[in-house]
C-alpha cells in the first residue's frame, strides 16, 4: 500500500507550504489586503472604461434618481412608505369581502349540505361523516373562503412593489434605525422577507456577515407579520374595528388598525434588537454597502403568475394541508366526551382563567396550541371551536352550517355569541403578532443557528412578550371600562 506514505508526503509538503505562508505573512504587512483590493478595482475600472460607451454628455432627466430622491428623502420617505402600505391593505380589505362571501356561499352553504345528504344516502356512520364533513371539509372550506381572496389581492400587490425595486429603498430608509438599535442594516431585508414568511426571513438573514447581527436578525424575524397572520389581522380589524365607524370609513379604519399592528411589530423588532445588542449580544455594528437597484417596470402577467402560484397557492396549500387534519382533531376534541362534557370543553375550561387574564379566552389559547403547525388555521380553528363547544346549533341549520349570505357577518355573529368583545379582538390581533413562531420557522431557526438555546430564546421571547402585552392591556382596559 503505497498510499499511506504518499499521503504522508502530501501532508508534509502541505504543512511546509503552510509554514512558509505563515512566516511570509509577517513580511507582507497589514495593508496587503487593501492593496490587493485596490489593484483589483483599478483593473476592473480600466477594463470597463475601454468597453463601455456612455451616452452623449447632455445631462438627461434621470427618472431613477428623481424618484429615489423622493422616496428616500428624510421628510417624505416614511410618509410615502406608510401611504403605500395603507393603500395596499385598504385595497385588500375592501376588495376581499365580496369574493369571500361568494366562496363561502358555494363551499359552505352549497356543497356542505350536499355532502351530508350524500353521506346519508350512502349510509356513512354519523361519527365518520362528522370527522370528514364537519371536521376536515369544513375546516378546509373555511380556510379557502377566508384566506384566498385577501391573499389573491395582497400578494400580487406586494410582488409588484418587489419587482419595481421598492424594497431596497425601504431598507435604505430603515438602515439608520437598525444602526441605532445595534443591528445590521441588511436586517431590513430579512425583515421584509419575514412579512411574507418567517421561515424564509430566517434563512434570508444569511446575507448578514457577522454572526452576532445575524442572530439578532433571526431572533427578531418573528416580529414581522407573516402571510399566515395577515388574514387574522384583517378579519379582526374588519369585524370589530370597522364597525365602530360609519361604513364609508370602515375600510380605512380597518386598514389603519392592521398597519398599526404591523408597525408595532417593526417597533418591537427594533426594541428587541436594541435590547439584545446591549445585553447578551454585545458588539460593534458592521458597515456595509447597499445597492439601490434601478427601478424596473414590472411585468404584469409574470407578477400575477408568480404571486398567485408561488405565494398565494403555496400558502393556501400549506394552510389546507395543515387545516384538514386539524379539522379532524378539532372535531374529535369537540365530540369525544369525557364524563359529561367534551374534551374540548375540558381543555377550554382549563385554559379559560389564563385566557381571561389575557383579555382573550380559552378557545383562542386552545386554537393557538392546535395551530402550532401553521398560523393560517388559527381563525378557522377559533370559529370551529367556538361553534362546536358552545353548541351554537341555532346559528345555522346545525353544527357547521353557519355561513349565511355574508361570511364576515356570520363570523361576527358566531364570535359575539362566543362572548367576544372589542377587547378580545384587539388582544387577538396583539397575540397574533406576539406569540411563538410556527413549527416550520422554529425548525428553520434551529437549522440556521444550530443551537437549542437560541432556538428556545427565539421561540419563547415573543410568547412571553405577547402574554405580557395582552395581560397589561386587558388590565388597563378593564380598569377604565369598569
Amino acid at each position: 500500500m503505497p498510499t499511506s506514505s504518499e499521503k504522508h508526503e502530501g501532508n508534509s509538503s502541505a504543512e511546509r507550504i503552510l509554514d512558509l505562508a505563515q512566516s511570509l505573512r509577517w513580511k507582507v504587512g497589514q495593508e496587503f489586503h487593501d492593496k490587493l483590493v485596490e489593484a483589483l478595482y483599478a483593473e476592473a475600472s480600466r477594463i470597463a472604461q475601454r468597453a463601455v460607451i456612455l451616452p452623449g454628455q447632455g445631462q438627461r432627466w434621470d427618472w431613477d434618481r428623481a424618484v429615489d430622491r423622493l422616496v428616500t428623502s428624510r421628510l417624505w420617505g416614511f410618509p410615502i412608505m406608510f401611504l403605500l402600505f395603507a393603500l395596499m391593505f385598504w385595497l385588500t380589505i375592501s376588495g376581499a369581502n365580496v369574493p369571500s362571501g361568494w366562496l363561502s356561499q358555494i363551499l359552505v352553504d352549497g356543497i356542505q349540505p350536499w355532502l351530508w345528504s350524500l353521506a346519508t344516502a350512502l349510509a356513512v356512520p354519523r361519527w365518520l361523516g362528522g370527522v370528514l364533513i364537519d371536521g376536515v371539509y369544513l375546516a378546509t372550506a373555511w380556510v379557502v373562503s377566508v384566506m384566498l381572496p385577501p391573499m389573491a389581492i395582497f400578494f400580487p400587490l406586494f410582488t409588484l412593489l418587489e419587482d419595481l425595486g421598492y424594497l431596497p429603498r425601504i431598507a435604505f430608509n430603515l438602515d439608520y434605525l437598525f444602526k441605532k438599535a445595534g443591528a445590521h442594516g441588511k436586517q431590513a431585508m430579512s425583515m421584509m422577507m419575514g412579512f411574507g414568511c418567517n421561515a424564509a426571513g430566517v434563512v434570508a438573514a444569511r446575507i448578514i456577515d457577522s454572526p452576532r447581527e445575524r442572530l439578532i436578525a433571526v431572533i427578531t424575524n418573528n416580529f414581522s407579520l407573516c402571510n399566515g397572520r395577515w388574514p387574522t389581522q384583517i378579519l379582526m380589524a374588519t369585524l370589530f374595528l370597522g364597525v365602530l365607524v360609519p361604513p364609508h370609513l370602515a375600510g380605512i379604519i380597518s386598514a389603519a388598525a392592521v398597519i398599526a399592528v404591523a408597525l408595532l411589530g417593526v417597533f418591537l423588532a427594533f426594541a428587541v434588537s436594541w435590547l439584545l445588542s446591549r445585553t447578551v449580544l454585545r458588539g460593534e455594528v458592521s458597515t456595509f454597502s447597499l445597492e439601490l437597484p434601478p427601478y424596473r417596470p414590472p411585468r404584469l402577467l409574470q407578477t400575477l403568475y408568480t404571486s398567485l402560484v408561488d405565494r398565494t397557492l403555496f400558502v393556501l396549500w400549506r394552510a389546507i394541508v395543515f387545516a384538514a387534519p386539524a379539522g379532524a382533531v378539532i372535531w374529535l376534541v369537540a365530540n369525544v366526551k369525557i364524563g359529561d362534557s367534551s374534551l374540548a370543553e375540558h381543555l377550554i375550561r382549563m385554559l379559560n382563567p389564563m385566557g381571561m387574564l389575557m383579555g382573550l379566552n380559552g378557545v383562542v389559547l386552545l386554537a393557538y396550541v392546535i395551530a402550532i403547525p401553521a398560523n393560517e388555521i388559527v381563525i378557522p380553528t377559533v370559529l370551529m371551536l367556538t361553534v362546536l363547544s358552545q353548541g351554537l346549533q341555532g346559528v345555522g341549520g346545525g353544527a357547521g352550517v353557519m355561513f349565511e349570505t355574508d361570511s364576515a357577518r356570520a363570523t361576527f355573529d358566531i364570535l359575539q355569541a362566543g362572548g367576544w368583545t372589542l377587547l378580545t379582538a384587539v388582544n387577538l390581533m396583539l397575540f397574533s403578532l406576539l406569540h411563538n413562531p410556527c413549527s416550520t420557522t422554529i425548525y428553520t431557526i434551529y437549522k440556521e443557528t444550530g443551537s437549542v438555546r437560541w432556538t428556545a430564546v427565539a421561540t419563547l421571547l415573543p410568547l412571553l412578550l405577547g402574554i405580557g402585552a395582552t395581560v397589561t392591556l386587558a388590565f388597563i382596559w378593564r380598569l377604565f371600562a369598569g
Binding site: N11, L40, A48
Partner: protein, 275 residues
Amino acid sequence: MKDPGSTAPSPSAACESCAVYRAASLKKLGVNMEEHDYIVALAGNPNTGKSTVFNALTGLRQHTGNWPGKTVTRAEGAFEFEGKRYKIVDLPGTYSLLSTSVDEEVARNFLLFGKPDVALVVVDATRLERNLNLALQVMEITDRVVLCVNLMDEARRHGIRIDDRALARDLGVPVVLASARQGEGLPELLQALSGVATGRIICRPFRLQEEPAAIRDVLHELVQEIHKAYPHLPNARWVALRLLDGDERLAEAFRTGELGGLDRVSEVSPATATF
C-alpha cells in the same frame, strides 16, 4: 430573438449554422440532474439576473425579485444542449469572494472545490465597472469562465453601449451580451457555455500581474513552492495570495488534502488557445 419554436421550417444546411436553430436543441430538464456531462457554476453580483438566466436555461421557476441578496442558498437545475447534459448551480450573489460572510463562502467554495466545468459570471451591463471586480476574482480561481453581460435592454434604455469584442479581448474569456428576461442572447450564451465546457474554446483569462512591489518576492517564493507540490493546480497564484491573506478555509483544504484533489491535469492542452 424570435421564439425558436414558432418558426420551424425543415432544417437545411443554412439553418444549422444559425444560433437560433441551434438554440432549439436546448432541452430544459428542470431538476432532473442525473448523469450530467458538465457542471456550470452561475456566479455574479446580487441582482444582476442570475436567477433569471438560471430559469431560462432550466425551465425552473426559481423565485426572482428586484432586490440584492434574494438567493442565499444554492439552487440546482439542469439542461441539455446538443446532446450533452449540463448541471447548473445558481450561487448566491456576492460583490466579492474575499470576505467571510456565509454567502460569499458558499460561492467561493463551490467555484474552488465544486470543480465546475464552466463558471458563468453574470454582470449588470449598466454597472459593468463594479461588476467586473467579481468577474476578475472568479477568473483568478478558474480559467474556464464565460461572461454574460446581462440587462442589455436596460443599458440601451440608458444609452449605454458595450463593446463586447473589446471586453472579450481584454478579459480573455467569451463575452455574451444578453437580456435574459426577454430571452435575448441565450442562443449565443449556450454556444459559449458548450464551447468552454467541451474545450472547443480555450480561455486565457486576464490575471492581475502587478502586485505591490513589497510582496512580489514573497509571493513568487510561495507560488514556486505550491507549483512544486501541485504542478497542475490552475490557480497557484491565487491560492498563494489567499494563504498570505490568512484564509483559514484554504489552509484547512491544504491539510486535509482537499486541494490535492484539484490538482488535475486539464484535458485539453493549453497550447491550442483560441482566446
